[in-house]
Every structure is written in structure tokens, then in C-alpha cells.
């Protein structure tokens, strides 16, 4: 082995023993032990694995750890410590978005990135940002409502 790579996740440095081409998803889940980030498709078609890398949403299933370098990785386990992330999580609870919940980590990370970049998105902007994230339970109308609620709370 001896491929120790340093990953900065949610503010902490982790030594990860994996090849540089290892997808960030599996490094996070299997080696760092943060299992909140989910596997859905493996090819960036569903968004379940979305995390932030230096504040931008990334599909961790196709992001090799070599591409992360010293960048800051933020996952669902850490997003609640940011004001926007907290507002999004609160809105998710208030609107009762969740059914099976499997895709919601990715949805929340994507929505947090959206609201960080655009504090008051309209429906079209929400569609653009969120359409890469699949939910098979059909929570889309509530996700939309929760994003509006979080935006409103942030503005208020």
C-alpha cells in the first residue's frame, strides 16, 4: 500500500490509504467512514453522491481523490455547520420532504450550493440546479418548496 493521501473533510484531515484514481465517494464512505454520502449510479447521472469541493457541488462518484488535492471537502455530515446548510436542513424538516431519504444527502448538498450562489432562486433556477438529482420517491415538489422556504428564511 503506502498510498496515503491527505483529505480534508468537514474541517478535519484524514489519511486515506487508496490509489489516486479512487473515487472520492468510496474514500469517504469506506475509508474515512462517513457514510452519509450515497452511491446511486456511479457515472454522475443521479446526484446521490453530491458533496462540495471548495464550495462547489461535485459528484463524488466520478471525482478521483487525486483531483481533490488540498481542497476542502464538505459532506452531509458537515453541511449543517454552515448557515445555508443549516437553513436547508431545517427547511427539509419543516416541509417534510423525506420519504426513503436515500437521495436526500445529495439533494441537500446540491440545494445548499444553489442557495449559496443564488440566495433567492426562482422555479426555473431551481429546476436548472436540481434536475441532475434523481429522487425515485417523488419528493421533487417538496424539495422545490423547501428550497423556497430556506431562501425565505435566509432573507428574513
Amino acid at each position: 500500500m503506502g498510498n496515503a493521501v491527505k483529505l480534508k473533510v468537514n474541517g478535519e484531515i484524514h489519511d486515506v490509504d487508496a490509489e489516486p484514481d479512487t473515487p472520492l465517494l468510496w474514500a469517504l464512505r469506506d475509508l474515512v467512514g462517513l457514510t452519509g454520502t450515497k452511491f446511486g449510479c456511479g457515472v454522475a447521472l443521479c446526484g446521490a453522491c453530491t458533496v462540495h469541493v471548495d464550495g462547489l457541488p461535485r459528484r463524488s462518484c466520478v471525482t478521483p481523490i487525486s483531483a481533490v488535492g488540498e481542497a476542502e471537502v464538505l459532506t452531509i455530515e458537515g453541511v449543517g455547520k454552515t448557515p445555508v446548510g443549516k437553513a436547508v436542513q431545517d427547511a427539509w424538516l419543516k416541509v417534510e420532504v423525506v420519504q426513503c431519504g436515500y437521495c436526500q444527502a445529495g439533494q441537500i448538498m446540491q440545494a445548499t450550493a444553489l442557495l449559496t450562489a443564488d440566495p433567492a432562486p426562482d422555479d426555473a433556477a431551481i429546476d436548472r440546479a436540481m434536475t441532475g438529482n434523481i429522487c425515485r420517491c417523488g419528493t421533487y415538489p417538496r424539495i422545490r418548496a423547501a428550497i423556497h422556504a430556506a431562501a425565505k428564511q435566509r432573507v428574513a
Binding site: M1, N3, D17, A18, E19, D21, T22, P23, L25, W26, A27, R29, D30, G33, L34, T35, G36, T37, K38, F39, G40, C41, G42, V43, L45, C46, A48, T75, I76, E77, G80, Q89, W92, L93, E96, V97, V98, Q99, C100, G101, Y102, C103, Q104, A105, I108, I126, D127, M130, T131, G132, N133, I134, R136, C137, G138, T139, Y140, P141, R142, R144
Partner: protein, 718 residues
């Protein structure tokens, strides 16, 4: 079957509620979800199968006998128990029951099965009775301690109160004493004045699902565990031939290549290494159905339409009605193979060690999985333990357990706990598909276009013959396949016949959200609109005439028409379609509003009315209907699993598209409130979508649609 003796019945009644001290020094009690059946009444040991425990530390724990896959089972069960215990639902800790077909059998389904939208119906009485018994015993324990009459005590906020003396004791302080109180034989449950039931109490599983701490099967971690990626034969029914494992073993982090009869797995220190290793292999696959194609299967099902089947339902004299008909209607219907495409790909963690097997998995049939794995590994059932975890979408796929057996067979060759994770491609290509279902409908009509006879021939596989024969296979008929085959209508003469058409050996088929109602609802409800058009009658009015007056479905249809302003002008360029259905113990109606623009379909709005009796949690009901509608919309618009050269063609979300946020229509859900016992809500939404949309398209184009998915030319992918 031998009738039970009186002695056995007495014993059974006495054992109806079993009480014992919990490990924490508290009260544990269980009520059978299953009313004593003759076969079980004679068993020496009573096995209760729902549990409530009140620990000395005050923790109230309810064991959920069902899978939680988003449908809200944990929340509903917490609410039912909370109602009788006079606490907030959030005060009740819910744990998922391990696999045990005896302890946790569903009262109707007879096994530990989460399916048929039947979870709530199955727990409605037993869970409340268990909690009511606990309350009565806690009150009795307090009354004894205080030397007062139990009738003078009340419960609130997790405490027993004696108002006259201003004393109160917490349940935790009473749990141990309550365990020695005689068990009430048949504790009465509240029949009204509900404080919890009927409220939109927050889901008990939401917080953990929002902060990433919820543990799905995929998230299980065991000390020293390794990870496996697997590929089964892409050729249906094929076996693993030669495979050179060196390229996989050369991948850093890969530790082992495991061969099964029909699959190869690569084991590694993490899933990334295992997946990379698997991708390096070039396995040969032997045999299998290399000539199999969708065209051949469709042709086979079409041919079956010409065969006389087994009579599933009959009323009156259909032949006579046709002989005297003023006109007739006939149409053939075709429905495709479907995958489940849940967000969480199948995965299972297994450790096989010292002649025992422990499994960590989310399953809709954990009790059955336990039996199947025991059989496959040659172990006694009590040497296999199945621990239950949250499921990231079931939709019927996890009613099968062959993938759990596969994981166990891999684990048997690995000297550590191993988590087997299927790729999305594997999940798509090795599904237990909904199979081809074809229908032929013939209707005899009078001079005014009213139906005299409805004749529905259904070509479908015998799923229930192996899935649940005791309940749903009767005299050569698959009861699910023929369910709702004539809709909720009062036809004077009718005939339903079932032509069994099984898939070839090696092609796994199974249950899919909405089951029989989904297939037959599309057929019956689109036929209704064609008949209405032929008669020159409004589709709602045409249906109304055929419904039993004042029945729940008739009331629902009127409400649906009223809520949607049926008959009033629509925005230019739009049309709408209606569908209604009775199923899963509930009644449902939908109006879909669509826009046909240059031959392209846009579903703009769906307005649903649901009568599910008492809506235990109206929010969960709404969620299930919203989600069911969108699940059905995906199927109506896109879903079609095809086979070429013996292989499933589709593989991932690029060639198996699903509805996304951008093409989600506006959805409204209206709940009809009444006091009937709760019906199912997980599947009605899915079942009703396709016919409502097809009818809206029919209204726009005048061309009926007899096939799903809807024509590709009509549907834009996003």
C-alpha cells in the same frame, strides 16, 4: 386441518399477551399481529410478533415488524403506540425487527412481508392493543402503589396521575411493577377522540435522513469488513465460464476474486478497488438464453391472448349479452417489462463464520431471506440472523431474496464480513422485473352505448404461485394478476379469464409497485373513456352511471369532479383525463391535465383524491400519493426494459430515464376524511397515473392508447 381443542384455545388465549421482564428491568409485551389460526393454536409456545418495551430508563421502544423504505412505517407505528400511551410519537423509539417469519408475520400476508400497501392495515389493531395493554398495566401498578382505584388514575405525558392526591409517577418508575400485573385479556382501544392519530406528526425518521446519520443497508460497517463488487451473467440464465483473475488481483487494494456458478465477485479493501478490479476482468459466460429477445416475448404474450384461460371471475351470461348487443368494442393491450430502479442499489453485508451466518440488509422479506440463506448454506435457520436496516426505495424489488443468497454465497468464500454492492448497471440488468402483461377486452353494448357485458382476458405470469400461493393463487388463477380486472363498476355481465404466461427459466420476474391494479387500471380506465366517447357521454358521467350509488368510489368521483372543475373550460391547448380505482383497501381518483404541443406531451397538472379511511398521518398519506404518482409517471412516460440476444439492453439512468424535477407536474392531493379503517396508500398513486394521462391524450388526439410506455414520439426526455 384438525380443529383446535378447547384446551389449546384456552392456552392460546391466556398466552395472547406474553409478558416478561426486559433486560433493562422494565416491561416488554407483545401482541400477536395474527389472530390465532387453527394451525398455530395448537403450538405449545405462543410467539407474539409485535413488541413494545418500556425500560427502567423510561425509553419506550416499539419494534417495527415491517421494512421502512420511505412509506412511513416507523412513524405510523410510533403514532399508534403513542396514541394509547398518551405520549408524543417522538417519545417512542422505533427499531426495525430482525428477520423472523414466526415472530413478525403480517396478520393477513402470513409472513414477515412489507408489500401490498398493507403495513398500516396490519398494525392498526395489534399495535394499539399492545400499547393499550401496557397503559392499563402501568395504571394498575400505580394504583396499587398508591392504594387507590385504577379508575381514579389518568395518563398524560408519559406519567400516571392521581389528581385527587396530586401524585404522579413516570412510566419508567412503574415499568418493573407493571410487569407483574395481570395482562388484560382484550384491552379496549380508543375508538375516537384521537390526539395523535389523524395529525400530521413529524416523521420519526426525517432528522437522521437529513443530517446523514441514518443507516441504510449500504451504510453498515463491521469490524474488519471488506467490500465486494459483483457481476452475474449478462446473458439471462448463463453460467460463469473461464475467467483470468490476475488483472483484478493486480489492482491495488483488491484481495480476492470469488467465483459463483453464475457470477464473479471481486473483493477489496474498499468498494472503489473492488469495482476497478471487477472492471478489469473479462469473464466468459456459458450458455443461457442467447436467442431471447423482447420481440419474441411480446409475440408469445400476443399468442396467449388467443388462448382460453382459467375463469377468474364471472357474472351473468356474457355470451348471451354479446349475442344481443347493439354494438361491441374490442381492444388488445400491451404492457412492457419494468425495472424498479430504486435509488439504493442492491447491497448486502454478510459474515459467515463458525457454522453461522449474520446478515445486515434492508429487505421487504427478511424472514424469508433468513430461510433462503439457511437453505443455500446448509445451515439451520437458527444459525442465520438477519439484521434489518433502512431501505433506499423498495418498490417490490426487495420482495425477492436471491440477491441476499448471492451475497451469502460470496461471504462463505471470504474470511471477513463482506459488503456486496451491486453497480447501477447490475441493479438494472439483474432485476426481478415486472413481466410482460397483455390484455384483451371485449365489451357488449346496448343501443345507447351502455355496457351489457365486460370480458377481460389477462395474459400474465404466475407470480403468486411461488410468491404467496396460500393467499393469492386460487384454482389456477393468479389473484393479483386478475385483481381489479373490471374496475369498480357494476357490469350486469362480466368475465375475467387468466391465461398463464411465464417467462423462460432464468429470467427473474416479480412484484412492482402497484401490482395488478397498475396493469388492470390502465386497461379498464382507458377502455372506459373509449366507451364513453363511443356513446357520446362525458367520461365522468359515463363512469358515474356504472358505480354503486353512494359507494365510497362514487362519492370520490363526485368530489374529484368538483375539485377539478370537471366540465368547465380549460386553458387553451390543454386537455384532461380522469381515472378512478378501488384497491389496497383505499379508493382513488386522478385528473391529469396535459398539453399536446406539436405532437409532444407535457403533463402539466395532476389532481388526486384519496379515500384511505382514517388517514393516520395525513402528511405521510400525501407523501405516498405524490410519490406514487411520480413513480407511475416515470413508468408511463419512459419505462421499458428490453432484451436483445439474451441480454437486458438498458443499464443506467441514461437509457432508463426517470422523471426529474424539471418535468414534474403540479400535484394536488385531496384526502377524503371518514372513519373507515385505514387502507393502503403506497401503491394507489402509482396505479392510477397512466390511464389518466392516456385519457387526456385521447381527449386531445382522438386516438386511444393501448400500450405502455406512451409512444416515444410523444415523450421528450430530459
Amino acid at each position: 386441518m384438525k380443529a383446535p381443542t378447547n384446551a389449546a384455545m384456552t392456552t392460546d388465549r391466556r398466552r395472547f399477551l406474553a409478558v416478561c421482564l426486559a433486560g433493562t428491568g422494565g416491561l416488554t409485551l407483545g401482541f400477536p399481529l395474527l389472530a390465532p389460526r387453527t394451525a398455530m393454536a395448537a403450538e405449545a409456545t405462543f410467539r407474539p410478533n409485535a413488541f413494545l418495551a418500556i425500560g427502567g430508563d423510561g425509553t419506550i421502544t416499539a419494534t417495527v415488524p415491517y421494512a421502512e423504505m420511505g412509506q412511513g412505517a416507523m412513524t405510523s407505528i410510533a403514532m399508534l403506540a403513542a396514541e394509547e400511551l398518551a405520549v408524543a410519537p417522538a417519545a417512542i423509539k422505533t427499531v426495525l425487527a430482525p428477520g423472523d417469519n414466526k415472530l413478525y408475520a403480517h396478520p393477513v400476508l402470513g409472513e414477515q412481508i412489507t408489500g401490498g400497501s398493507a403495513s398500516l392495515a396490519g398494525s392498526w389493531m395489534p399495535i394499539r392493543k399492545a400499547a393499550a395493554a401496557a397503559r392499563i398495566m402501568l395504571v394498575e401498578a400505580a394504583a396499587r402503589r398508591w392504594g387507590v382505584g385504577a379508575a381514579t388514575c389518568t395518563v398524560a405525558d408519559g406519567r400516571v396521575h392521581h389528581a385527587a392526591s396530586k401524585r404522579s409517577l413516570a412510566y419508567s418508575e412503574l415499568a418493573q411493577a407493571a410487569a407483574s400485573v395481570p395482562v388484560p385479556a382484550d384491552p379496549p382501544v380508543k375508538t375516537g377522540g384521537f390526539k395523535v392519530i389523524g395529525t400530521a406528526a413529524p416523521r420519526v425518521d426525517s432528522a437522521a435522513k437529513v443530517d446523514g446519520s441514518a443507516v441504510f443497508g449500504l451504510d453498515v460497517r463491521r469490524p474488519g469488513m471488506v467490500y465486494a463488487a459483483v457481476q452475474a451473467s449478462p446473458v439471462i440464465g448463463g453460467k460463469l465460464g473461464a475467467v483470468d483473475d490476475k488483472p483484478a488481483l493486480a489492482v491495488a487494494g483488491v484481495t480476492q476474486v470469488v467465483r459463483l456458478a453464475n457470477a464473479v465477485a471481486v473483493v477489496g479493501r474498499h468498494t472503489g478497488a473492488a469495482r476497478k478490479g471487477l472492471a478489469m476482468l473479462e469473464p466468459h459466460w456459458d450458455g443461457g438464453l442467447t436467442d431471447l429477445s423482447t420481440e419474441a416475448l411480446v409475440k408469445q404474450a400476443d399468442a396467449a391472448l388467443d388462448r382460453k384461460g382459467v375463469t377468474a371471475a364471472t357474472k351473468g351470461d356474457v355470451a348471451k349479452a354479446f349475442a344481443g348487443a347493439a354494438s361491441t368494442f374490442e381492444a388488445d393491450y400491451r404492457m412492457p417489462m419494468l425495472a424498479h430502479a430504486a435509488m439504493e442499489p442492491l447491497n448486502c453485508t454478510v459474515e459467515v463464520r463458525d457454522g453461522a451466518c449474520e446478515i445486515w440488509v434492508g429487505s421487504q422479506v427478511p424472514g424469508r431471506a433468513r430461510i433462503d440463506v439457511a437453505k443455500a448454506l446448509g445451515l439451520d435457520e437458527d444459525r442465520v440472523k438477519v439484521n434489518s436496516y433502512l431501505i433506499g426505495g423498495g418498490f417490490g424489488r426487495r420482495l425477492q431474496s436471491e440477491w441476499i443468497v448471492q451475497a451469502a454465497l460470496i461471504a462463505r468464500q471470504v474470511k471477513a464480513p463482506v459488503k456486496v454492492v451491486w453497480s447501477r448497471e447490475e441493479d438494472t440488468r439483474q432485476d426481478a422485473y415486472r413481466y410482460h402483461n397483455h390484455s384483451r377486452v371485449r365489451v357488449a353494448l346496448d343501443a345507447k352505448g351502455n355496457p351489457l357485458a365486460f370480458d377481460h382476458r389477462i395474459v400474465a405470469p404466475a407470480i403468486m404461485l411461488w410468491f404467496l400461493p396460500s393467499l393469492l393463487w386460487k384454482d389456477g388463477v393468479d389473484v393479483d394478476a386478475t385483481n381489479a380486472a373490471t374496475g369498480p363498476y357494476a357490469f350486469p355481465n362480466l368475465m375475467v379469464d387468466y391465461v398463464r404466461n411465464d417467462p423462460p427459466d432464468g429470467l427473474l420476474v416479480g412484484n412492482w409497485r402497484g401490482v395488478g391494479e397498475t396493469r388492470n387500471g390502465f386497461v379498464v380506465e382507458t377502455v372506459m373513456d373509449q366507451l364513453a366517447a363511443k356513446a357520446g357521454v362525458d367520461p365522468v358521467e359515463y363512469r358515474r352511471r356504472l358505480l354503486p350509488p353512494k359507494s365510497r368510489i362514487a362519492v370520490l368521483l363526485d368530489r374529484l369532479a368538483q375539485e377539478t372543475g370537471w366540465g368547465k373550460p380549460l386553458p387553451a391547448g390543454t386537455t384532461r383525463g380522469v381515472a378512478i380505482q378501488s384497491g389496497f383497501g383505499s379508493h382513488m381518483g386522478l385528473v391529469a391535465q396535459v398539453r399536446m404541443d406539436g405532437g409532444k406531451l407535457k403533463v402539466e397538472r395532476m389532481t388526486a383524491v384519496i379515500d384511505c379511511g382514517i388517514a393516520v398521518n395525513p402528511n405521510v398519506v400525501r407523501q405516498q400519493i405524490e410519490g406514487g404518482l411520480l413513480f407511475g409517471l416515470t413508468a408511463a412516460l419512459y419505462s421499458n426494459i428490453t432484451i436483445a440476444d439474451g441480454r437486458v439492453v438498458e443499464s443506467n439512468f441514461h437509457d432508463q430515464p426517470v422523471v426529474r424535477m424539471v418535468n414534474t407536474p403540479k400535484i394536488d392531493v385531496i384526502i377524503i376524511e371518514n372513519g373507515n379503517d385505514p387502507g393502503g396508500v403506497g401503491e394507489p398513486g402509482t396505479a392510477i397515473v397512466a390511464p389518466a394521462i392516456a385519457n387526456a391524450v385521447f381527449a386531445a388526439t382522438g386516438k386511444p392508447l393501448h400500450q405502455l410506455p406512451l409512444p416515444a414520439s410523444m415523450v421528450e426526455r430530459v
